[in-house]
């Protein structure tokens, strides 16, 4: 397994309720993401454990894109990945954000 830690600037959405939420399932080509309150309102934290080695640059690109598209400052995203493609990573993160907004 390869571990990645990333902290990125992002806007904060005060209307999001501070709660933990799990989205997705660890299975081949898929991932789960646990959303929790983070340490800093101006940044979001990503903790990634992935079965696919050597893709840190791709991860960085996908996570930067997510952090710029949504106000997710003050949140921590912990990911267990079993080889999800970049599109699936984006999709699961978007779905987790959607669930956060609607719950």
């Amino acid at each position: 397994m390869e571990t990645l830690h990333l902290e990125l600037p992002s806007l904060q959405d005060d209307t999001l309720s501070p709660q933990t939420l799990l989205h997705g399932v660890v299975s081949s080509g898929n991932l789960e993401v646990l959303v929790e309150p983070g340490p800093d309102a101006a940044r979001c934290v990503f903790e990634v454990q992935t079965a696919a080695h050597g893709f840190s640059e791709v991860w960085q690109a996908v996570l930067c894109d997510f952090a710029s598209r949504h106000p997710v400052g003050g949140l921590t995203f912990s990911i267990h990945d079993a080889g999800a493609t970049p599109a699936v990573v984006s999709l699961r993160l978007d779905q987790a954000y959607q669930s956060l907004r609607t719950s």
Binding site: L22, V25, N30
Partner: protein
């Protein structure tokens, strides 16, 4: 009453199944994902772990009655039982006794023991069985719900059959050795695991209900599972009405004799029968059985069993 579109039990994750089965907003999870109680064995093998080790356990309300609910996630390592996963199920079953739950809903979606965890997984299965018997002996009915992608195989197939009631969808499957295992061990001539129709004629919900191994056949709809589980729970009129509890009562002999007669009748089936379709033919049921919806199918079997 508003009727909403059916939500597939098979397609839903373990978490969505739990939400759909219980009264809205009533679920409290035990050892939730934020606790990060993950498998040390998978980590030692450098394999991906899951925040909940592939099983959701907790308590909630079903028709305003306190129930314990356990739901395996079939997509994580085939719902296989490892040490942590098994301990969570065992603990939830024992907790049901402490909180005096009206019933336990056990959503089995598993290929059996998690091979990565070998003996720890095997021991976990036997611990689950003991805890299940303890809950039943305390008068708490355990209801198995089988309709996930993995079905109920291996040790969890046995666990499902130990339950007081077994609710299954047509898409659900129940067995001991799964199709791929049989094919690997005995060869493709014995069992072609890629022949989906054959797999379902041997292990699917319809044939399992026919052979008396499942209590009821259901539509692949979470609401149908919820309604059937509530009915089973209410049907056990009071605490102490679980069949396992009744087994300790004076009518135990009658219960055993009825089970024996059922097994003898099944053993007396033509030994040449190798397929669900042949079972239905033998029973005098035509090919239309395969096309019956669950309600019609249950009625057809209940009429024969009367």
């Amino acid at each position: 009453m508003m009727t909403s579109a059916p939500q597939s039990f098979r397609e839903a994750s373990a978490r969505l199944r739990v939400q759909g089965l219980l009264d809205a907003g009533s679920f409290t999870e035990w050892l939730g994902p934020a606790r990060r109680i993950t498998s040390p064995h998978l980590a030692a093998l450098d394999a991906p772990v899951s925040f909940d080790d592939g099983v959701v356990v907790g308590q909630g309300l079903l028709e305003a009655q306190l129930v314990v609910v356990i739901a395996q996630e079939g997509l994580f390592n085939g719902g296989a039982v490892g040490e942590v996963h098994g301990a969570k199920i065992r603990g939830a079953l024992l907790r049901a006794i402490e909180v005096r739950a009206r019933a336990v809903l056990l959503c089995v979606d598993s290929g059996g023991v998690r091979l990565h965890e070998a003996n720890a997984g095997l021991i976990a299965i036997s611990e689950i069985m003991r805890a299940l018997f303890a809950a039943q002996a305390a008068g708490i009915p355990v209801i198995a719900l089988v309709g996930g992608t993995c079905g109920a195989f291996g040790g969890m197939g046995i666990v499902a059959r130990l339950c007081d009631a077994l609710l299954i969808s047509e898409e659900g499957r129940l067995g001991l050795s799964g199709p791929e295992v049989i094919e690997t061990v005995k060869g493709v001539e014995e069992f072609d695991s890629r022949d989906r129709a054959l797999v379902w004629r041997i292990t699917g919900g319809k044939i399992r209900r026919t052979l008396g191994e499942a209590t009821l056949l259901l539509d692949d709809d979470i609401a149908a599972f919820r309604a059937a589980a509530a009915k089973e729970m209410m049907g056990s009129k009071t605490m102490g009405d679980s069949p396992r509890q009744r087994g300790l009562s004076p009518d135990a002999l009658q219960t055993l004799e009825a089970a024996q007669r059922h097994l003898e009748a099944r053993a007396a089936l033509d030994p040449g029968i190798r397929d669900g379709q042949q079972v239905w033919q033998h029973m005098g049921l035509g090919e239309e059985v395969a096309l019956m919806d669950p309600a019609e199918f249950n009625r057809c079997l209940e009429a024969r069993e009367r």
